[in-house]
Each structure stands twice: as C-alpha cells, then as structure tokens.
C-alpha cells in the first residue's frame, strides 16, 4: 500500500509531504529528488526503484506527484489513484500549479486525509468529497446532515447522495477520442494505430435515476442481429465497432455488463468519466501525411510535405499543426506554404506549420529548404518522424451513441423529459509519419 505521497515543484522543493506508514523515512523525499527530478539523465520510467523503495510519479506541468511505497503494490492502482488525485485537486482549485498548491495546502492535506487511509485509497469521488470537504467556512451541520454523510459514505451508493432536485433535468455526453498512428515513410503502410477514447458525462438529474447507455458495440449489435431480421444485422454490421478493452466508472453495474453487456448505472451528480475504451480495428485516419525529403549535397536539404484530410467534406478539422524535425546542424531554413503559417523553431529543432481550419477531402502542402553546416561528426541524421496535431468533430474509432435512457420510478419525470446533449471530439495522440 502507498507509504507516502509527496508533491514537488520543478526545482524539487517539497510542497506537500504526507507519510502514511513508518517504513517511509524522511530520506525518501530526498532520494526521489536526487534520483529522479535532478537526475542527470532524464528519467522516463514512471516507476523508479531506489534502495528497495518504489516511487510512482506523474507530472502535471511543472508539478511532480510521487507516491512512495516499500511494499509490492499494484502499480496500476497507484497510478489510478494519482490521476484521481489530480482530478480531485483540479475540481477543487482548478489548474494544478505551484501557486495553487501553495495556496490550498490546507485543503490538500485535508483531502489526503480523506482519500487515503493508512495508504489504502478511499472514496475519491469529487461529488461525494465536496459534501464534507468544503472550501467555504465551516457551517455547523445538523445531526441529520451528519448522519446522512455517514450513511452515504459508508453506504452502497457512495457516489450519489439522496434528495437531489433539479428543475431542468439535463444530461451532457462527450465522446473524447485520441488517435495514435505510426506510418511508414511512403505513406502507404500503417505500422501501428489505435484509438483510446473516453465517455465523459455531466448529469444534472433529480432523485436516484437509473440510466442505460447503448452504443454500437459489435457484440451487442450482433446479438440483437441474430434475434431480429437479417436486414438490420447487415446495416448495423457495418456500423458497429470492436472494442478491445474498456473500463467503467464504479457506478456501472459490472455484473450486468458481464451477463448482458448492457451499461446501466445510477450516475453521480455532476461531471464524471463513465467509461474508457480502446480500439485498434477499422480506424478512420483523419489525415494522411506524405513527406518527401531530398538531400542536396552535404549542405542542403529539401523537404516537401503534403497533408490530405480524409473525412466528410462537411466537417471541419481544427488546430492543425505539423511538426517537421530539422537536422541538428541546420544553419538556415526557408519555408513556402500555401495555407496556414509555417516557421522554423530553432529552439525545438523543427519547422512548425499551423493551419487553423481545414475541411474534409482537401489537400495542402509545404516545402522547405534547409541549409546545413558541415560538421566533423560522422553521425548521420536520425530522421525523426513528422508529427501532427489536430482536432476533428467525430470519433475516429467509429463509435456511435445509440441511446441513453433515464428511468426514475419514484419521481414523476420520464425519459422524454430529460434534455440530452451528445458531442464527439477526435484529437490526435501521437500521430507520426516516418520520413
């Protein structure tokens, strides 16, 4: 179990230090600083073992969060907790920055006391936490309220309190996906591609509603297809997607998912992540990158890059950025591009080409001349891949929300009275093309 949790700023100064177990000494704080934060070689592994002590860290901008343990713990659990911790902190005071952490240190210690007990993670649901850890002054709670908190925290549905009332019952559902790709130089072969997606919900519903979420999961569709006519199975077969693996928020009834593969749950109040999933098959690649690199002698390099958008013309991709790495001995760059803006960024050793908007089924290109300084070094340039960033208004995995039903038997509102909003956002993860 987690022995302690430390938060450092970029200089390695300790902002928050909370030790849960005796086997973690004070020197652990320094060990992490010396061996990870100030390491000569950048430490890339998120888990570091120093003197039989394991350090699990995540970094949020300039802030390091490190969980320490001497035991053999489930690393995935620790990281899950660390991410949750970040979420909780963001929910309480916004962006995680040194300033914010310093300003809210009392709150953070209070939170740490609540969500970790002797190193065991406890309820880390923001909604629930907010009921008893508040940022306002303490107002004396009635006995009823106190007992309510107790029963809620210890009860079966720890993530939702009773007696919530809204005038307008509303639901927001976002499908957020990031698409990762590695392409071979000729732009012909996909070396690896996968989409990792999340379904994030915001619910403002009264009472204790029971929700049911449906999407075009291949298994579900096929099962239904067998039951109904062949027609439907044909048409939906094309639409359905194969999900490689998924995880759910704790509110989802897993037993039901296992038996019927239906996602039913009593939602927490406010924002939460309903599920996470990953797909690797039939991915719609929103962009194609076609690079052309030509070395002219020892002192010159010509680069031409074409990008093609590959989705419905009616849709608009946004925030497109192409990053073309330049050799380390670049002494000058000239860029010509038709669309957007391109610039040689010496500090990053790359040409950065930015396009604000681009419709589907379009094409654009950039060409650059790179001058090189002859060096004594015989090492050849490693030719790092060209990377790309973008945002598209659809789900590259092909996921579709089929329905989201709400039942509240006790209160008198039905599924039709709930206002539902659905949105798809596809972003680039590591989207690279070798050149």
């Amino acid at each position: 179990m987690i022995g302690g949790l430390f938060i450092y700023n970029h200089k390695g100064e300790v902002l928050i230090s909370r030790v849960y177990r005796d086997d973690i000494g004070r020197n652990a704080v320094d060990a992490f600083r010396v061996n990870v934060i100030h390491a000569r070689q950048q430490v890339r592994s998120p888990v570091t073992n120093i003197a039989r002590t394991s350090f699990f860290h995540v970094k949020r901008s300039n802030i390091w969060l490190a969980a320490v343990t001497k035991q053999n713990v489930n690393a995935a659990m620790v990281f899950e907790f660390l991410y949750k911790m970040c979420d909780v902190m963001t929910a309480y005071f916004g962006k995680i920055s040194e300033e914010n952490i310093k300003n809210n240190f009392v709150l953070i210690y209070e939170l740490l006391d609540e969500i970790l007990d002797f190193g065991y993670p406890q309820n880390s649901e923001t909604g629930a936490l907010k009921t008893f850890i508040t940022q306002q002054g303490i107002k004396s709670q009635t006995k009823e309220e106190q007992s309510q908190i107790t029963s809620q925290v210890t009860g079966q549905i720890g993530w939702r309190r009773e007696g919530i009332k809204y005038r307008r019952n509303e639901l927001f559902l976002d499908v957020l996906e990031s698409v990762n790709l590695l392409m071979s130089p000729q732009g012909s072969q996909v070396l690896s591609a996968h989409v990792s997606g999340r379904v994030v919900m915001k619910s403002y519903l009264s009472g204790m509603p029971e929700c049911k979420f449906g999407m075009n999961d291949k298994i579900v569709i096929d099962k239904q297809g067998k039951g109904t006519a062949d027609e439907t199975s044909k048409s939906s077969g094309k639409q359905s997607i194969a999900i490689d693996d998924c995880t759910f928020h704790q509110c989802v009834r897993l037993s039901k998912f296992d038996s019927e593969r239906s996602i039913s749950f009593i939602p927490p109040d406010g924002e939460y992540e309903l599920m996470r999933y990953r797909t690797t098959k039939d991915i719609i690649l929103p962009f194609r990158v076609i690079p052309l690199v030509r070395e002219v002698g020892r002192t010159k390099l010509e680069v031409k890059v074409v990008i093609k958008s590959n989705f419905k013309p009616s849709l608009l991709a946004q925030k497109i950025e192409v990053r073309i790495p330049t050799p380390l001995n670049t002494s000058g760059v000239q860029v010509i591009c038709m669309k957007g803006k391109a610039k040689y960024k010496a500090s990053e050793n790359a040409i950065v080409w930015k396009i604000k908007r681009m419709a589907g089924m379009k094409e654009s290109q950039i060409s650059a001349e790179i001058e090189l300084l002859p060096t004594n070094d015989k090492k050849k340039w490693a030719r790092p891949p060209i990377s790309m960033n973008f945002e598209v208004p659809f789900a590259p995995s092909g996921l579709k929300v089929r329905y989201l039903k709400v039942f509240e038997p006790k209160l008198n509102y039905s599924d039709h009275d709930v206002i539902k909003w659905v949105r798809y956002i596809g972003r680039s993860g590591i989207y690279e093309t070798r050149c």
Binding site: L328, A346, S347, N349, L373, T375, N376
Partner: protein, 971 residues
C-alpha cells in the same frame, strides 16, 4: 601579460549565461541552447566573414554549452582561426577551446599543430606560454610526437624567458608522464641539470620536478644533479627567510623547492664526494635544527611548510641510512611529534618511524619511544593513526621487548577497531613466533589470541600453531594441557576447538595420566563442542576421535557409539558421513598394529616461511611490511646501484615431489601421504591433512617422535669456520632414521634439511631438501657428501643436483632439492657425511651431518613359516654369526610400537612363529651388490624388568653386529 580589459568582456556571452541560469526547467534550458546553437550555426555559415570579437564570443558560447554537457560538433575551425590571431584574448580563447575539445580530425590536428609551432617559434613569451600550456593540457601522443623535439630546445636555449622555461619544463614533464618513450634523451639533459643553478626560483622548481622524474628513468645521466641540488639546497636552507622574497612562504624559504630537491636526492645513494656529503649533512642538520627553533608565526601554514621540509629531510636521512647521528636526531625529532597536538603530525611521525625502525642505527633510538607508541595505540582517536602505531610496534619489536609488545597488542586487541583486527592478529601471531624464546609462551599467546579475537584469526594462524607444536616436542605436553584447560571455558571459539581437536588428537596421551584429564574426560569435553561447530570443524573432530581410538583403546567403545549414531552415519553432509563410516569400519576391523600405523602421530612439518607472514605480505602488498631485514636488503641493493630485483616473496623456488616415490618403494603400505611434502607450490599453506580422505597420515616408520630428542642444535655449534669440526652428532640423528625414511634430518636457526628416501634391494635414492629459514639469501651454497675411506669401497654414492649445480644462491625462505643415488656394494658400518657450506650475512657457515644411510635400509623382508624360521635359525648356529644383546628399555614397552619399529627396520614381522606370543621374530635379506645376507632376529621383551633381549643371526658376522647395534638403540 595583457589582462582582459573591461571593454573586452563579451556581453552576448554574459546574457546567454544569465538566460541559462534563469531557465525554470531542464526543457527550457535545452530550448534556449538549441536556439543559441542554431544562431551560432547560421552565423558561422553566413557568407559574411566574422570579426575576431564575434568569433571569440561564439566560440566561448560553444565552450560554455559543451561544459554544460551538450555535444558540440562544430566550431573547431573557428577556434583554429582564433589560434592564429595576433590578439592575446582571441588566441587565449582559441587555445582554451582546443585544449578542452580536442578533436582527432587529422586535418584539424595539422592546422592546430601548425599554429602551435608558429607560436613556439615566435619570440612572444605569452604566446609561447599559451602554446606550451595547450600541449601540456592535451598531452596526447600526437602532441608528444610533434613537439618533444622542440620543447627541450626552448628549455635550454639561452635567451628564453624565465616564465617560458618554467612552462617548458612542466610541459616536458607532462609529456614524459603520458608518453615516456617519446621524450628523447640527448645533450640537452646535461644542460637541464644546470637549470638547478638558475637564478629564477620558479625555473628551478619546475626543473627539479622534471629532473626528478627523468632521473628515476635513467639515474646515470643525471648523476651530477646531486651536487647541484645539494648546493642549491644549502643555499636555501641557510638563507634568511627574507632573502627569497616571493618564494618565502610564511617565513619558510622556498618550501616547495626544498621538498622537491630532497626528493630528487632520494633518487640517489649518499654522495661519495666528501665535500658534497659534508654539505648535505650540514643542510640536513640545519633543517633539523630549525625544527627546534620557536615558530616564527602562529599560522598553521608556517608549521605545515616547515614540517613538510622536515619530513622530506627525514625520509632522505632514512633513505641514505648512513649517518647514525642524523638518524638518531631524526628519531628524536619524530619522538617529539609523537606527542604533538596535530593528528596529522602524529600520523606522519609514526609512519616515518616505521621506516626508521628498520635502520640498524636508529633501531635502538626508536625503541625508546615504545611507551609513547603504546599510549598512542590506546588513546588515539583516529583509527588510521592507531593502525600506524600498530605498524610501528611491529617494526620496533625485537627479542628484548617482544613480550611487552605482544602483551600490549593483545590488550589492545580486545578493544581494537574491527577494520584492523585481522591485521593485528596476524602481527601478534608473527611476533610471537618470531621472538619466542620459550614456546610455552608462544602457545599461551596464540591461545589467548584465539580467545580474544577468534573471528579474526585466520586459518593460517592456527595452522601455524599446530605446525610448531608438532615440530617442537618440548611444548607438546604443555600445549595439550593448556588447550585442554582453554577448552573448558563454557564458550570457546571454533578456532580454539579446531586447535584443541588437533592437538588432543595428537598429544592427548601426554596428559591422560592426570585423572582430571583422563581420556574419557578429554573426549567428552571435545564432544560437547561438536554440535556447535561448523562442518569442517566437525570433520576435524571426527578425525580426532579416531586418533583417540588409537591413543586410548579404553574409550574405543564410547567413540564407536558416537560414530555409529545416526547423526554421524547418516549425516546430510557427505564429508562427515564418509568420515564417520570409514572411521567406524577402521576402528572395528583393523588390528591394533594397523591402527597404530595408520593413525600414527603426525610427522614434523618441513620448515618453511611462515604462512602467516605470506598472508600479511599479501594483505599489505610486498615491501610494505616493515620487516627489518627485508627493507634493509632492498636498501642495500639500491645503494649499490644494482637494479637486480631482490625477491622478497620467498616462495619463489618451489620443488615438486616426484610423485612416483611411493610406488618405487613398493613396500605395500598403501595410502602413504608423503609426510615430508616439500614446500608445496606458491601458497605454502600447511597441508590440511584432515581434509584428505586417507584416514591419517602414516609415515613409513612407526617411531613415535617423542622417543627421540629432536635434533636441535644451537647456532653456536654450527657457526664455525672449521669444516668437519661439527659433524652433527651423529648416531642420535642416524638412529632416528633407522626405522623411517622420511623426516627432518637437521634443523637450526638458519636452515632445515629434510629427507625423503626410498630403497630397493641394493639401490637407494635420497631426496634432500635444504630450506632457508631466514629471509636472507644464502650465497655460494654448496654441498658435498664425504665417505670415509673405508666406507668408499662399500658404498657408492652419486650426488645429483636437481637444480643444476644447486643454485649457489638460496633465496630467503626458499628450498632447494638434491637427489642422492646410493648403491650398496657390500656391508658397511659408518654412515656417509653430508657437508654443507654457504655464506650467510658475510660469515661462512659450514655444517656437516651424517646421512642416515644404514645397512638395514637395504633389507628385503622375507615371510616364512614357523618351521622355516627355526630351520634357518639352526643353520646359522656358528657362534660368530649370532649376536645377542640384553639392554634396558629406554621407552615404554608398547607391543604395537615395537611391532611397527621392527617393520620399519625392514624385516618381515613373523607372527605366530615364536612359541612365546610376547616375543617378536623377524626375517629379511640384506641386498648388496656383491652378496646377499640373510638375517633372522628375535626380540624378547621382559616387561617386569623393563629389559629386552635381542638376538640376531645372519650369515656374516659384521652384519649381525651392525644390525644389532642399530636395532638395540630403538627400544
């Protein structure tokens, strides 16, 4: 020297550095550097030629980036351009860049070398200095190849500036260190020596360093530097502290130069010229005098500088080791430092004293400080100082104070620091052995040692105790008693159990008479420790038990019970199980005489260098052990200017035993472990006899060692110039070997002679091992075998030398081997004499020993039945053929021992022949080249009267008489 003026400061560089310093994170820093690198690249690439200033600025930035840990792969060309600039600052940056980022690009190297060459040739001293510094900083082989020819010229040229000379000397020193083979020797060397006379002290200092290094390489060429150094030194020493101005450091005139000059002098023996020598002595005296003067300053720098010179002077005095007066004064001076407040000084004083102690002149003087040193050992806070104190005690130890020092060290050991315990243990063990006058003291000391620091007592130490106890029969009884008492302590260390097990197994019988240590009590005592011990110790104890079976037949049943128990017979450890099974069987089936033979007492170990000493040397590295003789010897050879390496490690000469020896004998006593194993290779550790599977070591003859007084003869007898005067007497020695073939023939303080012999029919072969017990070489070592005239006709001796001509020099601790072939022509009376001559420490040593070649060696045993025996007995009935002797027993009358002796004598022991079972009968044939002589013998013991009657019948009268003489001495 043109300094960097303020206007010359590079603003761009300063801004860049402050930018980097202000970076919040590593990433930001890398971004900034990438940006700067791109900028510099575009600047260098640009068509516009850069002016010197910006070039310098960018090269500086590159240098800074490189020093931050990033790779720089360009800019060398620009740096080389800067090199050829005429401005000092630009040139300086160019050189800096080149010396930091040396590039092996051949083209560039040529350009760089060219630039350096130009600067060396220029008359500008600053440029020359820059170039020399660059060469020295890079110090690569290429640089050395290119410039080793030029630099000496600059060094000795008449018109070179002082500062350049200084740099040139140091540069040459550096090149000599990195690639000594490239630095040419030539006529410049003699002129370099004259730099010692230079007026500029800086030049002299630099030159002294150079000369010292070169003189170590070839001393002959720089021999004349001695007198120059002496005169320079005397000028410095006698100067007032104000004379040397810049070179006076806290009132000490030129301390660095003085130290270097003294070091230089240490490369050479004391000067031969009287005048120079006198002057040097005067200097050293002055330095010693100055140490007595009150300090001119309270500052620590003053005393440090003064002491540095003083210590260097003392090490020179020690190195010369020729002026008793100075040595004693140095010793007194160090004695003062022993009580100084400064820990460093005390440390240095102890260290220097260690070397002083090895000088014959100052050994006594050092000894006067014994109390202080012992005090230091007890009170010093720093463990390294205590360590030095131990070293010094070890070095100053001799026969007169050994008891005290060993006692003190033992005392200290109880509280000693763990890191130095093992070393102290070794030292105590060595001193105790080396200076033991009384071996009971030795045994006490070592047992004490094991008690106090059991864990730190290495194997070698207890091996050694056993070696010594076995070889010295005068301490065997005592040690058995002491060990027995020590074992009675409720908790004793495993090493003690090992020693106890071994010694009681061998000599337990010597104390068995006392009812308090009766056999059963001894056994129970040992067995009570059995279960607490590790496997090797248990194995040893099992061997002890089987030896008990032989020593004390009365507890045989008890021991067999123990061996038979499941915990032994079914022990999980294979070794223990095997021993238990084998010993049990052995004790059950073997007859008493076989048991007596197999489990006979250990024969003496051949003398060799103490394995502990070897261990200590190994631990400290050769030469670090302040062994008096050794250091002395090394020094002598140094002084004679000889470069011949003196082997300190003495196990250099090793001989291997001819492994066929036992087969040749064909005597049928199967697993004979050669008891006189000549110095086994390298490690020279005691052979752990118990780890061998043959149950025990059996020597061929069943003589019990204690029956003979061991042949120790004081050195006074031996050291004699008159050959033939000291034939080591004589029968005693020979008698010892009548019934056995192997053993130590002779031993005194200087050497030990071991024997191994084998005989078949009329032929014999004898291996003689000469072991040098001292640590000094024996010179002109020679041996000869002398047969008296009468004997010559009877016996032929051929002396073979295995080491061609027995090497005339026998190294300290080494062993040489000789083979002697013997042929018996006819029967004989006298034994041949072995004469050995050698030179030890200047005096001719001459010793003679009788070789144990006796007639009975040529016996072939003959088995015969009772009938045959008496038939032959009657045939030899002529009165001359029979010899009878009645004599009193000199040793306890033990049937088994007697049987073994008769077998050892060479005849076959005939059982059940004589009607009286207590009588012994034997038969054998003596083979000579000419005739064979049959021999029958009968020995009738009378236990009540403690008398024997020995009757011998052979076909020759002389043979009967001789054999009777020989055999009667054995009982």
């Amino acid at each position: 020297m043109p300094a960097v003026s303020k206007g010359d400061g590079m603003r761009g560089l300063a801004v860049f550095i402050s930018d980097i310093r202000n970076c919040k994170s590593k990433e930001a820093e890398i971004k900034r550097i990438n940006k700067e690198l791109a900028n510099i690249r575009s600047k260098f690439k640009g068509d516009k030629a850069l002016d010197g200033y910006s070039k310098k600025k960018y090269v500086c930035k590159l240098l800074f980036i490189f020093l931050l840990g990033h790779d720089i792969d360009f800019g060398h060309m620009e740096a080389v351009n800067l090199l050829s600039s005429n401005r000092y600052t630009e040139k300086q940056i160019g050189y800096l860049f080149i010396s930091v980022l040396v590039n092996s690009n051949s083209e560039l190297i040529r350009l760089i070398n060219n630039g350096i060459k130009n600067d060396l040739a220029s008359r500008n001293p600053t440029f020359m200095n820059l170039a020399l510094h660059c060469i020295a900083n890079v110090g690569s082989r290429e640089m050395a190849e290119a410039f080793t020819a030029d630099i000496p010229k600059i060094l000795v040229a008449g018109d070179t500036m002082d500062s350049v000379k200084q740099s040139a000397a140091l540069c040459l020193l550096r090149l000599n260190r990195t690639s000594p083979d490239l630095v040419p020797m030539g006529e410049w060397t003699s002129r370099v020596v004259h730099l010692l006379n230079d007026q500029h002290l800086g030049v002299v200092t630099a030159a002294t360093s150079l000369i010292t290094t070169l003189a170590q390489k070839n001393p002959e060429e720089f021999k004349m530097s001695v007198s120059l150094a002496v005169s320079r030194l005397s000028r410095i020493v006698t100067s007032a502290s104000t004379d040397l101005q810049d070179y006076t450091y806290y009132f000490v005139p030129a301390p660095w130069l003085s130290v270097k000059l003294l070091r230089l002098l240490q490369c050479y023996p004391p000067p031969e010229e009287g005048a120079v020598r006198g002057r040097l002595t005067e200097c050293l005296e002055t330095i010693l005098n100055k140490a007595q003067e009150p300090p001119k300053s309270k500052k620590v720098q003053h005393s440090n500088a003064k002491n540095a010179v003083l210590f260097e002077a003392i090490s020179l005095i020690i190195h010369h080791d020729s002026e008793p007066n100075l040595l004693v004064r140095a010793c007194n001076q160090l004695g003062q430092f022993l009580q100084h407040r400064e820990t460093n000084l005390r440390y240095l004083a102890l260290e220097s004293m260690c070397t002083l102690a090895s000088s014959e002149f100052s050994h006594e003087a050092v000894k006067t400080h014994i109390e202080t040193v012992i005090n230091a050992l007890k009170t010093e806070r720093d463990v390294s100082v205590r360590q030095r104190a131990v070293d010094l005690l070890y070095a100053m130890c001799d026969r007169s104070n050994a008891q005290q020092i060993v006692a003190e060290m033992l005392n200290y050991l109880e509280t000693a620091d763990y890191s130095i315990r093992e070393e102290i243990v070794l030292k105590v063990a060595i001193l105790a052995e080396k200076y033991a006058v009384d071996y009971t003291w030795y045994v006490d000391t070592i047992l004490n040692l094991i008690r106090i620091a059991g864990d730190y007592v290495s194997e070698e130490v207890w091996y050694r105790v056993i070696q010594i106890v076995i070889n010295r029969d005068d301490v065997q009884g005592y040690s058995a008693k002491t060990v027995f008492e020590a074992l009675q302590a409720p908790a004793c260390h495993e090493n003690l159990v090992k020693v106890g097990g071994y010694i009681l197994g061998e000599f337990g019988n010597l104390i068995a008479g006392d009812p308090r240590s009766s056999p059963l009590i001894q056994f129970n005592l040992l067995h009570s420790k059995f279960h607490l011990c590790s496997v090797p110790t248990r194995a040893l104890l099992l061997s002890t038990y089987i030896k008990f079976v032989n020593l004390f037949p009365e507890i045989k049943a008890t021991i067999q019970d123990v061996l038979r128990s499941d915990s032994q017979l079914r022990n999980a450890d294979v070794e223990l199980q095997q021993r238990a099974v084998e010993y049990l069987r052995l004790s059950c089936i073997a007859s008493t005489d076989i048991l007596a033979t197999v489990l006979e007492e250990m024969p003496p170990f051949p003398e060799r260098e103490s394995s502990i000493l070897t261990k200590l040397k190994k631990k400290k590295g050769p030469g670090k052990v302040p062994d008096m003789e050794e250091t002395k010897k090394e020094r002598n050879s140094d002084m004679n200017g000889s470069t011949e390496p003196v082997s300190v490690n003495s196990s250099a000469v090793t001989m291997s035993t001819p492994s066929t020896s036992t087969d040749l004998l064909g005597l049928g006593l199967a697993p004979v472990l050669n008891s006189v194993a000549p110095a086994s290779a390298g490690g020279s550790l005691l052979v752990d006899v118990f780890s061998d599977n043959s149950p025990a070591v059996a020597s061929l003859a069943p003589t019990a060692e204690e029956n003979f007084s061991s042949p120790r003869i004081g050195s006074a007898d031996v050291v004699s110039d008159d050959p033939a005067a000291a034939v080591h007497d004589a029968d005693e020695l020979v008698n010892k070997f009548v019934c056995k073939n192997n053993g130590v023939l002779f031993e005194n303080q200087l050497m030990q002679i071991g024997l191994k012999s084998e005989f078949r029919q009329n032929l014999g072969r004898m291996y003689i091992f000469y072991g040098n017990k001292t640590s000094t070489q024996f010179l002109s070592f020679s041996t000869a075998v002398i047969c008296q005239d009468a004997l010559k006709t009877h016996i032929l001796l051929h002396l073979f030398c295995i080491t061609k001509q027995v090497d005339p020099a026998v190294d300290g601790g080494a062993q040489v081997q000789q083979i002697l072939n013997i042929e018996c022509v006819s029967d004989f009376m006298e034994a041949p004499i072995l004469n050995i001559q050698f030179r030890y420490g200047g005096a001719l040593q001459n010793m003679s020993v009788k070789l144990p070649v006796t007639l009975n060696k040529f016996f072939q045993p003959t088995e015969m039945t009772s009938q045959d025996f008496f038939q032959r007995w009657k045939q030899l009935s002529i009165p001359q053929q029979e010899v009878q002797k009645i004599f009193k027993a000199k040793h306890p009358m033990d049937t088994e021992v007697t049987k073994a002796k008769i077998i050892g004598f060479g005849v076959a022991l005939l059982d059940m022949v004589d009607p009286n079972p207590s009588n012994f009968t034997g038969a054998g044939v003596i083979h000579t080249k000419n005739i064979q002589v049959g021999c029958l013998l009968r020995l009738e013991p009378n236990t009540q009267a403690q008398m024997y009657r020995l009757t011998l019948r052979t076909s020759r009268e002389t043979v009967s008489q001789r054999l009777c003489e020989l055999l009667s001495e054995q009982f």
